[in-house]
Structures are given as C-alpha cells and as structure tokens.
C-alpha cells in the first residue's frame, strides 16, 4: 500500500474557518503562558496557523482514538513550542480545554516539554533539540517497510538545525527516499540568544537540504493557503522526502512580540502586557486576511 494522499483543496469558507481556529489557538496560548508564568511565546504564536492547518485540514487522525493505528504521525521536534500543540489538540478534542490552564503545573499531563507517556495524542517526548527528525525518519522507514498508509510530518525549528543529529537524519531520509515523510521547518529566524544568522548562519538553507537529496518547498508559514499548497506539493513527490521551509513571523499576532527574539523564551506579564496581547488577538482575524488581499 502506498501512503495516502488526501484531497487538500482549500475552499474560501474552510480557509476562513482555519484562520479563525488559529486565532483561538493564539488566545489560548497567551492565556496558558500567563497562567504557567514561564515558557516560550514567540514560536507557538508563529506556528498557530500551521497547527490549525495540520490538525483541522491536513492530518488524517481521530482525536477520540489517539492510538488509532493508521493515523498520520505528527512528530514535534522542537518540544518547547508545545503550548501551540496543546491548544490545538484541546481545540480538536483530544482532551478537555480546562486542562490547558494546568500547563507546566505539578501533576499535569501538559508538561513544560511534551511527554508521550503522559498525554495521549503526543507521538514523541521532545525538548532536547534535534531528536525529532531521527524519530520521524524511523517511523517513515517503518511505514514504507510495512506498506502502511499513514504519513509522517515532523515540525522542527530553524535553530535546532544547528544540532548535528538533524543532518544524520537527513542523510538517512535522502538515502532511503522517505517520500512519506515531510519535514516542516519553522523558519522564524530567531533563537534564544538572537537572530539565527548572527548566532550560527543557516543560509543557504534550501540548498543544504537539496544537497542531502530532499525535495525543498518554500512557503509563507502564516498564510494557511500557501502552507496547504506546500503540503500538496510534498504529497505529489514520490521519489524523495520533502522539506517545507515555512517562513513564519515569531510572535505572530502580538505587535510587541513580532520579530523580537527576546520573546523566544519568556511570557507576557500579568496585567498590561497580557491584556494588550489578548486584545490584539481578539481583533486580528481581519488583519491577517487583509494583508494577503
């Protein structure tokens, strides 16, 4: 059996729904982070559109049966952006939304970095950067070996590409033509200590992946239609694994966070900062669409 290629054409109505979901996810992220008092803000906000598109349009999955054997596997490699996973999973019905406010609290299934054994629907324990891609290729290799219909998606940050293990996994993906595997790079250009191109330049990034025999697709990561089209192109490729380099805006939706690396690893303070962030998010739906019109 070949990996399935679902029909992903996006009607305007569905696009609007996905954008609205992304807004709800962003609001939940801010609320969770304020309640937790620590965590990462910029990455989760920047990836809300892609998570909305994945969970509500791309992935073949059953939130009420998280261990369904033929589900697509979504590997989150950069575990620190898990608030966006949790918010999206709750929205999709994996667990009650009330759990979101337990993020990072003692006894919560919502650990500061996600743990597979603590929360059904989390495919892999992650946080230490670089480890997700190798698990993703292990899964994809097995799916091809067994002729399974499911696909593997692996979300990675750009900063974590600095970890050598990533390139071990890419060598493996290239050698074994893991065309059922799609890596999604959150190219937001920031890492904890500053802009990636100052800390340890990654460019030319697309050429690096191409040199490893991967199919490279670039898209605007905060444009849901563009991202979904990128996934369609990845599905159309049957000789190579694909890498979607999604250019995203870190902190997307909150003006004082956007593009600012200082928000990589901190959360808004309770009061003015938090209120400001939430007020913006509640009115942003129109803003995103108008930018692309």
């Amino acid at each position: 059996m070949k990996p399935r290629a679902p029909q992903l054409h996006l009607h305007d109505k569905k696009l609007k729904q996905l954008e609205e979901r992304a807004q709800v996810i962003r609001e939940e992220i801010i609320k969770m982070l304020i309640s937790a008092g620590s965590g990462h803000s910029a990455g989760p906000l920047g990836m809300a559109d892609i998570f909305s598109a994945l969970y509500f349009h791309v992935l073949v999955h059953k939130p009420k049966q998280p261990n369904w054997k033929d589900r697509d596997r979504l590997i989150l490699s950069n575990g620190h952006i898990c608030p966006v996973s949790y918010a999206t999973m709750a929205e999709a019905g994996y667990f009650p939304k009330a759990w979101l406010k337990t993020l990072r609290k003692f006894g919560s299934p919502l650990q500061g970095h996600p743990e597979r054994v603590r929360l059904a629907g989390i495919e892999n324990t992650s946080g230490p950067l670089g480890d997700g891609s190798s698990q993703a290729v292990g899964l994809a290799y097995t799916a091809l070996m067994d002729g399974a219909p499911w696909r593997v998606y692996c979300i990675m940050s750009d900063g974590e590409l600095e970890a050598g293990i990533t390139w071990e996994a890419m060598l493996f993906a290239g050698r074994n033509r893991l065309y059922n595997c799609t890596f999604i790079i959150d190219r937001n250009n920031i890492q904890i200590d500053g802009p990636t191109e100052e800390i340890m330049p990654l460019e030319p990034l697309a050429e690096k992946f191409e040199a490893f025999n991967l199919n490279v697709i670039r898209c605007a990561g905060n444009d849901i239609r563009d991202f979904v089209m990128a996934v369609e192109r990845a599905h159309a490729m049957s000789e190579k694994a694909s890498v979607i380099i999604a250019d995203t805006i870190p902190g997307r939706g909150v003006d004082f966070m956007e593009y600012n690396f200082e928000w990589h690893g901190k959360v808004p303070s309770i009061g003015e900062e938090a209120n400001h962030a939430l007020a913006q998010l509640r009115t942003l739906g129109g803003k995103i669409r108008s930018e692309h019109q």
């Binding site: 597979r116 892999n124 997700g132 698990q135 292990g138 899964l139």
Partner: protein
C-alpha cells in the same frame, strides 16, 4: 576441584578448569541470539552504525535483509531512528561499539528511548580493556554506570557466549528498553545451555560461606579460578553471577551478605558507578558488610595485548585472590 562446592543446578561446563575449555567472544552469542529471536518475532529489526560484522549483526542481515537497517556512522540518529521504529511497533536492536552507543548518544537514549519509553535494545560491543590494541578511545568502561542511572533503562552483562545468546532472546521478549554489554575477545564458555538464566535473578555458581564474590561478564571465570585458589587456602567462596545489574536482585544480595559477611565485586568496567557501585549502594542501604571492588579504578585503558592489560589492570584471578584475602581478614 571440589565438585560439591559448585552448584550442580548451575550446570556449568564439565571441563570448567580445563585449559582447553571452549573460548568464544560474547558478541558471538549476540549474533546467534538475534537469529533465534528474529525467527520467533518478525517485529525484531537490527540497526547498525557501520560495524555490522564486528558487532555480529551480519548473520541477521544475511538472513533477514529486509529487517536490517544500515545507518552509517550516525550513532545519535541510531538511537532516535530506533525509537521511531519502536513507536511504529518494531523491536529494534541497535548495535555499535559501546563507546559510541551509549557513549556518544547518551542524550538521545535518555530522551527518545528511556523517557519516551520505547522498546529499544541497545547492544554495546567492545567493552573493557580486553578490547586491547585499539586503546583507550575504544575500550568502553563507563557504560554500565551511565546506563544504570537512567530511569526505565535495564542493564544486562552476560558472562559468556551462551549467556549472551540467552540474554539477547530474553530481552527481545521483555517490553522494556535494555542495555546489553559484550566484549571483543574470546572468553571461556563456562555455562551451558542447561544453565538457568532469568533476567533480574542472581545465579549462584559456587557455594561457600566465608566470602561472596559477585560479578558480571566474562571476568566471572576469573572469579571461579580465584575461588579455587582460595579454597586451597581454606576460604570457601560463594560466587554469584549478577548478570542483571539493573534491576538488581536485592534479596539475593542481602541473603549473601548475611550468610557470608563480606563482599567482593568483580567487573571489567569502572567500579565506581558500575556493578561495584550498584552493589556498594545496595549493601550500605540494606546489609552493610565489608566490601572491596575489582574493576577499573577511575582511569582510562591503553593499548596492549588483552591478557597483558587484564593483568596490568588487576582483573585476573591472582588479583581477585589478593583482594578477597584482604576483605576476608576484615570480617
């Protein structure tokens, strides 16, 4: 040899102290075990990082080419890819030299195998100074210490090729992550197919109430030789095979401590943190008795002939006897 001092139920080799006793590297037992386990369970896959022949994964590769995965010199992803395959229902055995796996990829083992609780078996070859001419870089001595501290991880150190075969099959049947350790050099095959083996259970190889020598790995043969020498001096030694360093058979250790009153640990690894560390922790908590530890004493190995190195690092029967006498006199 005083036959009745030996545990008949241990079914040790009949020619136990014959110089012509069969000599086989423990890694060969791994190769045989993989074939047997692989025949029994089709989910078993073997991954190797460019050391297929040397880790004795080659026979499996030849018999089950579709279930063998070549990774190249990529030990970090070796752990991660195996974890991914386990998430999809496979039972991966990852084979390399122990200094690279679990040496180089300890973090990936901790995160993607242990914390992730995936059913991966880590096989570490070329451990101990008996690796010989390759020198310190390739003589892994710290593996037991770094693996036994990881929650969810289990550790087995078989004593000969027979036991390695049994251990390989046994860990394949157990749903938890395991680390299994073997050596490069040939060593006496002193157990038989009838010798009992159960993960987590200490086996008594020789009876005696004056002192306990507890060990893991091929060095146990040296412990048996030492027990013979000690017997001639009037000291009857109990020899325990503690192949499973984790989970430790605490009950059997307490029993031996109470009955013999002195312990000597033997291993070809760093005594601190290794089996010696595990036994010292156990005894100090539950049954304090005088203890000494034969093993590597906080130093690296070096190049040389294996037997020369074993002598130089104090890992042979005469060194064990010396230590045993000292500990016996402390009782």
């Amino acid at each position: 040899m005083i036959q009745n001092e030996y545990n008949k139920k241990a079914y040790l080799a009949k020619n136990l102290f014959d110089k012509k006793i069969e000599q086989v590297p423990t890694r060969n037992g791994y190769g045989d075990g993989l074939i047997e386990a692989g025949a029994k369970n089709k989910n078993i896959v073997v991954l190797c990082a460019d050391l297929t022949e040397s880790t004795r994964s080659l026979a499996f590769k030849k018999k089950y080419p579709d279930r063998f995965v070549q990774l190249g010199v990529s030990e970090q992803s070796l752990a991660g890819i195996a974890a991914g395959m386990a998430l999809a229902g496979k039972i991966p055995f990852i084979s390399s030299y122990a200094c690279f796996s679990p040496g180089r990829n300890w973090e990936q083992i901790r995160t993607t195998i242990a914390l992730n609780n995936t059913n991966v078996k880590i096989a570490g070859a070329h451990t101990g100074v008996s690796v010989g001419p390759d020198g310190a870089t390739h003589q892994m001595l710290e593996d037991i210490a770094i693996m036994r501290v990881i929650p969810n991880m289990r550790v087995v150190v078989p004593c000969d090729a027979n036991e390695t075969r049994k251990a390989t099959i046994a860990i394949a049947d157990d749903p938890h992550p395991w680390y299994i350790r073997f050596a490069r050099e040939k060593s006496p095959v002193f157990t038989t197919s009838k010798t009992p083996f159960k993960l987590g259970r200490i086996e008594t190889l020789r009876f005696g109430n004056d002192l306990t020598i507890i060990g893991a790995g091929p060095i146990l043969y040296e412990a048996l030789l030492a027990a013979e020498i000690l017997s001639k001096k009037g000291i009857e030694t109990r020899v325990l095979n503690c192949h499973t360093v984790k989970p430790l058979d605490v009950k059997a250790i307490i029993k031996a401590a109470k009955e013999t009153g002195a312990f000597l640990t033997v291993e070809e690894a760093q005594a601190a943190g290794g089996l010696g560390g595990a036994i010292a922790e156990c005894l100090s908590l539950y049954a304090p008795v005088p203890i000494e530890r034969i093993g590597i004493q906080d130093r690296f190995g070096e190049s040389g002939d294996p037997s020369e190195l074993m002598t130089a690092f104090g890992l042979t029967a005469p060194a064990i006897v010396k230590s045993a006498m000292r500990i016996f006199n402390k009782k």
